[in-house]
């Protein structure tokens, strides 16, 4: 054993060297993450207790920001509106994921011709940039765009529908953009859930004389529970902080008439203002809203983290 031949002194220096190198290996990652991710998360708490337009002196206001956003009509109404619309946004997305995603994943799990190619094609939009997808679909469903042109040509509608220009349809259209972009992800998760179903269970159900649909309903679908929960949780965490599509197409004012305002746009507007001449920006309020949103998605996020932790 080489270690036996070493003198105690060199053994000590090995230990010391080991410790120094360990520290050196750990430092870059911890510093990078600490300064630009962890510290801002911690700083949410002190910052939520001040009134501060982002520049100049900070004024300590205690829990005033929270009180305002929960009770003062100006903020409270915006917050409730954003929250309500965020829930609709979420429900439309998750609904289309679970219905269309499950149907397509089931069909892909059969001996369908060309199913490998279909998998690739269905996944195609997912790696694309949200910005490019947002503008692509924006132009596609525009009143003067291809989709409306075809609908008018086929006589399905008399006049083009302003999907993104009308308060009634804008939010749902945005949610469908999101669903179009990420459907491949939902399909892949559900498909891997189906493929993981134990074949002996399926065989047993077949021996018992179950029809295909009975086998699917009683053996496959129940096992998909975890995949459904996982998708729901991932989408929930994402849509309650990410408002990229709306910021891109509608801007921070989330038009028409704030009908597409969700938590992400509300938060952005509070910190940086809706337009260049806004004066009532408040970083403290933005931190308070950030904290409240974090609390809302915390159960889902912790669930996700624990699941990942179990897997590691």
């Amino acid at each position: 054993m080489p270690s036996d031949t070493r003198s105690p002194r060199s053994k000590m220096s090995y230990r010391a060297l080991e410790r120094i190198q360990r520290t050196l290996l750990l430092t870059p990652g911890v510093l990078l993450y600490g300064i630009f991710n962890f510290l801002p998360l911690l700083a949410l708490i002190p910052l939520s207790l001040v009134k501060w337009p982002g520049i100049g002196p900070k004024e300590f206001v205690g829990l005033d920001n929270f009180a305002k956003v929960l009770t003062q009509p100006y903020y409270r109404d915006q917050m409730l509106n954003a929250l309500f619309q965020n829930v609709i946004f979420f429900v439309v997305i998750i609904g289309s994921f679970l219905i269309i995603g499950t149907a397509l994943a089931l069909l892909l799990s059969f001996r369908t011709w060309g199913r490998k190619s279909y998998q690739v094609l269905f996944f195609l939009p997912y790696p694309m940039a949200g910005a490019a997808v947002a503008y692509l679909l924006d132009l596609f469903v525009h009143p003067r765009g291809p989709f409306n042109a075809v609908m008018v040509e086929l006589g399905l509608v008399d006049t083009p529908i302003p999907f993104l220009g009308s308060e009634d349809t804008a939010l749902v259209t945005m949610a469908l953009f999101y669903a179009w972009h990420r459907m491949g992800f939902a399909i892949m998760l559900i498909l891997s859930g189906i493929l993981a179903v134990r074949t002996d269970l399926l065989e047993a159900s077949q021996l018992d004389g179950a029809s295909r649909w009975q086998s699917i309903r009683n053996v496959v679908l129940p096992v998909l529970g975890p995949a459904f929960v996982l998708i729901t949780v991932i989408v929930m965490v994402d849509v309650f902080n990410n408002a990229d599509y709306i910021l891109l197409i509608m801007g921070p004012e989330a038009g028409p008439l704030r009908s597409t305002d969700i938590m992400g746009t509300f938060l952005f507007r509070t910190a940086f203002g809706g337009s260049a001449d806004t004066t009532d920006t408040n970083f403290g309020m933005a931190a308070a809203i950030g904290l409240l949103t974090a609390l809302m998605i915390l159960p889902a996020a912790i669930f996700l983290a624990l699941r990942n932790l179990r897997n590691t």
């Binding site: 993450y33 991710n37 982002g54 279909y118 490019a132 692509l136 938060l267 996020a301 590691t312």
Partner: protein, 280 residues
């Protein structure tokens, strides 16, 4: 068993029909973008959106590239994405190595701190993050955006690497340590090569994420010479909203590299990005 997944002729036809219908939903917007990006003027786009271009105007791409500054945006996106990949691969692999293989007093606490980063999205902390970046004098610089974007990818990457490392046997490492190898050597000669598949996953994940990121550059970059493609596309849309053929060309320039990379390595993309999404 096979009976469940086998399809007879008629069922096969029905399933094929549904599959092709969804392929159409996915591909038609892309197809519309390609056809219309090649049209000479916006009138033709409005008149017959699915008609073939007349004449085929390939110069739209050149125009967007030169006149609308897409070359600059493209360069910035490339700088940001490549730097992020290098930084994240280095920082995440070293951090994960120490956390997984050389535990010390407090290493669990460090790991929990990373866990919090996985739980709470950084966007919610945009106000304090902005404050910190400004204090460090990194506003409106590519370097600042690169650091912020790299940091935002750290938690997921560390998680993926730590869980991968749990499955590597420790024998090689133990043997090397017996021979007096120090952590640097163990990391560089043994762990890093063994981790290659997981590192490929986080590199891909980071590249796609950094290339596609819109929100963080939006907050931290002001001058147009620093814009990546995502912000450039938005600027372009504000200036040339009505020039649809040019807009489509710009969108395709932005998507081009991703589409090519996806076609070349679709299997890696699907497994890597799905894994990354799950670990978010």
């Amino acid at each position: 068993m096979d009976k469940i997944f086998k399809l007879n002729k008629r069922e096969q036809l029905v399933v094929q029909f549904i599959m092709l219908a969804w392929v159409a939903v996915v591909l038609i917007p892309f197809g519309a973008a390609i056809i219309n990006a090649l049209k000479p003027n916006v009138g033709q786009v409005f008149r017959e959106p699915f008609g073939l271009p007349d004449p085929w105007t390939w110069s739209n791409f050149a125009k967007a590239w030169v006149n609308a500054n897409f070359s600059q945006y493209f360069l910035n996106s490339t700088i940001i994405a490549v730097s992020c990949v290098i930084i994240v691969v280095f920082c995440a692999s070293t951090t994960a190595f120490v956390l997984a293989r050389m535990p010390f007093r407090g290493s669990t606490a460090v790991f929990i701190c990373f866990l919090i980063g996985v739980i709470i999205p950084i966007r919610l902390a945009l106000a304090p993050l902005f404050d910190i970046v400004r204090t460090l004098g990194l506003l409106d610089s590519l370097f600042g955006v690169i650091l912020v974007q790299s940091a935002s990818m750290m938690p997921v990457s560390v998680f993926i690497l730590v869980s991968f490392m749990k499955n590597i046997s420790v024998e090689l490492e133990e043997a090397a340590k017996m021979d007096g190898a120090l952590p640097f050597t163990v990391f560089w000669r043994i762990i890093f090569p063994l981790m290659r598949p997981a590192i490929a996953t986080i590199a891909l994940l980071t590249f796609v994420q950094a290339w596609n990121e819109y929100f963080l550059p939006l907050i931290f970059l002001q001058s147009e010479s620093n814009y990546p493609l995502t912000l450039g596309l938005q600027r372009f849309n504000q200036q040339f909203a009505i020039q649809w053929h040019m807009m489509f060309a710009g969108i395709l320039i932005m998507m081009g590299p991703t589409i090519i990379a996806f076609m070349l390595a679709s299997k890696q993309f699907i497994s890597g990005l799905t894994q990354g999404g799950v670990k978010e």
